[in-house]
């Protein structure tokens, strides 16, 4: 029995009122799907059904794209830019006002701890709308010529790991640049996107500027291949991303940006601030249950400090609190779906079978719902599947290196290139590493830090295009 046992401190669900069923949000209105199909969304922590959600078919996609086209031509593209900015500012403020409600809803539908949805997701969501609201009437200063034009209708497909944040990354720049959007949230996490649709109504956003279509892979495919879509933006798996790239290649008018998987190296040198590096390793791979495309899933530790770093890491992992996502003291929540849990299990078993040593802190898993303990693999080699494939779960592979050159070589030896981390007290070494690491984001003495003003995106199979910052605007402008 621990001396200081934190009593349960659950965030109240009372602030959220979830409807029994949700329609598609097309042309400013919620409507049922044309063929009446629907699916259920559950809470991954308890497997409780939260709501029934309409499933959009090709006819619905067509209606939504038409609504977006009409809104683009009649209202949004002819609106003075500063008026567009006002709408975005208004949406940002409503998000802040309803932040607690959205955070609780996100944790319920996604399984992530309320501490993260409250302290990371929601502040960043609001920040993305505020940031892009500011760009709306300043696009001529973005470096893309005197009067950069929007592209038209954007078809956007987002993942389940940061449902509302990925929506913000997609919708805020699209609208700021003058495009209208049809967005499909992931099938396991549609609820915050549907609440965002309500926020669009609350903000009096002209009908058709934002359309939300719920559904699974078929809906997404219908959307990105629709001939009325001028721009496709996708965040998700590399497998689906390649498919989308193939589909869109048939229509050269379509502009595409893809933000895909990752297998980031987190490189810890012997002169690193050890205690903070350990925090960074934990944050890198156990933040959001490791459901992070830029997660630091490969830890590269310099041999001379390997024992010390590993011991500190294991001690630290023993303090992680896994459980009810709505408890304010929870550090690690639920795995988002049964399918994802199966994938994490399969890869972890492959890790053991290939000879790596598996370790988890003593950790009791809840009986209902989808759970996986924080897991560390040591004795991993570059050839192991757990060092090459994206696990997208709370599983860390630990490797060692001797020289900085070897660290760079191992870090880059992956088909991915989304992010990397460098831990050292030497400023010169940080710059030396950053110049050599083939990754879109390189964090120095920190990890998983995001800001709307900082561009984000990948090298190689992690995708192309950038989101955020001045660079991110390019994806939504005809330049």
């Amino acid at each position: 029995m621990p001396k200081f046992e934190y009593a349960p401190a659950p965030e109240s669900r009372a602030i959220v009122s979830i409807k029994e069923s949700y329609g598609l949000f097309i042309d400013g209105q919620f409507t049922p799907s044309a063929d009446g199909r629907a699916f259920k969304t559950i809470s991954p922590a308890t497997e409780e059904v939260l709501a029934e959600v309409a499933e959009a078919g090709p006819a619905d996609v067509d209606r939504a794209v038409t609504a977006a086209r009409t809104a683009y031509e009649r209202t949004w593209s002819v609106l003075p830019p500063k008026e567009r900015g006002k709408y975005l500012f208004r949406i940002a403020r409503i998000i802040q006002e309803r932040a607690r409600e959205l955070a609780v809803l996100e944790s319920l539908d996604n399984g992530k701890p309320i501490r993260e949805s409250r302290d990371v997701d929601l502040p960043l969501v609001a920040a993305h709308f505020f940031y892009h609201a500011g760009w709306a009437d300043k696009l001529e200063y973005a470096g893309y010529g005197p009067a950069p034009k929007p592209l038209g209708v954007a078809g956007q497909v987002i993942p389940w790991n940061f449902p509302l944040l990925m929506l913000a990354w997609k919708i805020a720049p699209a609208l700021a640049c003058g495009n209208t959007v049809v967005l499909k949230p992931a099938e396991t996490t549609p609820l915050t996107a549907l609440t965002f649709a309500e926020i669009c109504q609350q903000a009096d956003l002209p009908p058709g500027v934002v359309n939300i279509l719920t559904g699974a892979g078929d809906t997404g495919r219908a959307l990105v291949t629709h001939p009325g879509v001028d721009k496709v933006a996708f965040t998700g798996s590399t497998e689906v991303g390649k498919e989308i790239a193939r589909d869109c290649a048939r229509d050269p008018r379509k502009k595409v940006t893809l933000e895909l998987g990752g297998k980031a190296a987190n490189v810890v040198f012997e002169d690193a601030p050890v205690d903070q590096a350990v925090e960074g390793i934990v944050n890198g791979i156990f933040f959001n249950q490791g459901h992070v495309c830029c997660a630091g899933s490969r830890l590269l530790v310099q041999e001379s400090v390997y024992d010390q770093v590993l011991a500190s890491l294991q001690r630290r992992l023993a303090t992680l609190r896994l459980g009810d996502p709505l408890d304010k003291n929870t550090d690690v929540g639920a795995i988002n779906s049964a399918a994802q849990l199966a994938k994490i299990r399969e890869l972890s078993e492959a890790g053991e079978a290939e000879g790596a040593q598996r370790w988890s802190p003593p950790c009791e898993l809840p009986v209902k719902g989808f759970w996986f303990p924080p897991t560390v693999f040591t004795g991993v080699s570059q050839a192991h599947r757990i060092a090459r494939e994206e696990i997208f779960g709370p599983v860390l592979s630990v490797l060692t290196f001797r020289t900085p050159a070897e660290a760079v070589e191992k870090a880059n030896n992956t088909p991915y290139g989304l992010s990397a981390g460098v831990w050292t007290d030497k400023g010169s070494r940080i710059l030396w590493m950053a110049a050599r690491l083939r990754a879109g984001v390189v964090w120095a003495n920190t990890f998983n830090k995001f800001d709307p003003s900082s561009p984000f995106g990948g090298y190689k199979e992690s995708g192309y295009g950038r989101e955020g910052g001045r660079h991110g605007l390019e994806a939504y402008l005809d330049v």
Binding site: K3, A7, A9, D271, P273, D275, T446
Partner: protein, 313 residues
């Protein structure tokens, strides 16, 4: 992070090499970690336990030029029975006074188990000769103090003269050995960087400190969460490598129950629960006690009483 085997005979150069060989502290990361832990939510039964534990860890302190014998007696009465309306409120750990008042405090708390801490070595600045500092410490012990809170020579530390600081601590240690616990005040507000806090912590522990203490309370900033975090990491690592447990005492600026609970969370998740004990963790505070008592009453009765219902000291 291993130190030379016999720490008492380290030559100046190797002491310096050792301290500068400690892993650095990234200030941004340390502050972020402290802020994250400060967001822990401690409610109901956990809060009850934390409030009582915090009370039992207080070094109830008065360190003013205008202190009077009456004030010290009143404070000792409060230390023995913090809440006259509720005998279940635990006693504090110690009373902390200037050396010339230590005999009074010792007489007041005799037989209660409450310790008498006295500041010494030309507190708070430490700017005098070693002879005077040692005399100050033995004066405090003769007056009945069983805990001595000494200050380090910050000037020497910042100038890189670690050996001088080490020798002074070791000399005071010799004076108090057998009669009192030694708490070493680092005055982290003057050391400024967290790297310095880590080095000073190790220096004090190597020289024989039983406790490392953040501040005198006379310099701003006094105790902060990031500074205490680094000190807790230091005592944790020191026990791992040297097998001796050293206590930590944040002092100054901790005024509310909420603050105190944040420190307990920090202890729990950094050094671990072995330190959640008045023998290993103390708060140097005065007004904190009343806020803890008020919160305690609130938790028990569901109502807040005004400050007039709690004694001044």
């Amino acid at each position: 992070m291993s130190a030379p085997a016999d720490t008492r005979t380290i030559a100046g150069s190797s002491l310096r090499e050792f301290l500068h060989g400690l892993p650095g502290v990234d200030q941004v990361g340390a502050e972020a970690r402290a802020a994250m832990l400060a967001s822990r939510s401690v409610k109901t039964t956990a809060k009850q336990w934390a409030l009582d534990t915090a009370i039992s860890m207080i070094d109830l302190t008065t360190l003013e030029g205008q202190d009077t014998p009456g004030k010290v007696r009143a404070m000792c009465a409060k230390a023995k029975r913090p809440d006259p309306a509720d005998p279940t409120a635990p006693r504090v750990a110690a009373v902390c006074v200037y050396p010339d008042l230590a005999h009074l405090a010792a007489a007041e708390v005799k037989g209660t188990g409450i310790h008498v801490a006295s500041v010494a070595t030309a507190f708070p600045s430490g700017r005098t000769s070693l002879e005077v500092k040692l005399a100050d410490a033995s004066y405090a012990i003769d007056a009945g103090a069983d805990e001595v809170d000494m200050v380090i020579d910050r000037g020497a530390f910042l100038a890189g003269d670690y050996q001088l600081v080490y020798d002074e601590i070791a000399a005071v240690r010799e004076v108090v050995e057998g009669s009192a616990h030694l708490k070493v005040i680092l005055e982290t507000g003057e050391l400024v960087t967290l790297d310095n806090v880590r080095r000073a912590s190790w220096l004090a522990m190597l020289a024989g400190a039983d406790f490392i203490k953040t501040s005198t309370g006379k310099v701003t900033p006094a105790a902060t969460l990031p500074v205490t975090l680094v000190m807790l990491e230091a005592v944790r690592d020191f026990r791992d490598t040297h097998g001796r447990q050293v206590g930590v005492k944040p002092a100054g600026g901790i005024r509310t129950a909420k603050d105190a609970i944040r420190y307990l969370v920090l202890v729990n998740e950094t050094a671990g629960e072995d330190w959640l004990d008045p023998r290993w963790f103390r708060f140097g505070a005065s007004s904190l006690l009343n806020d803890l008592l008020m919160q305690r009453t609130k938790l028990a009765t569901g109502r807040y009483s005004g400050p007039d219902y709690f004694t001044l000291d």
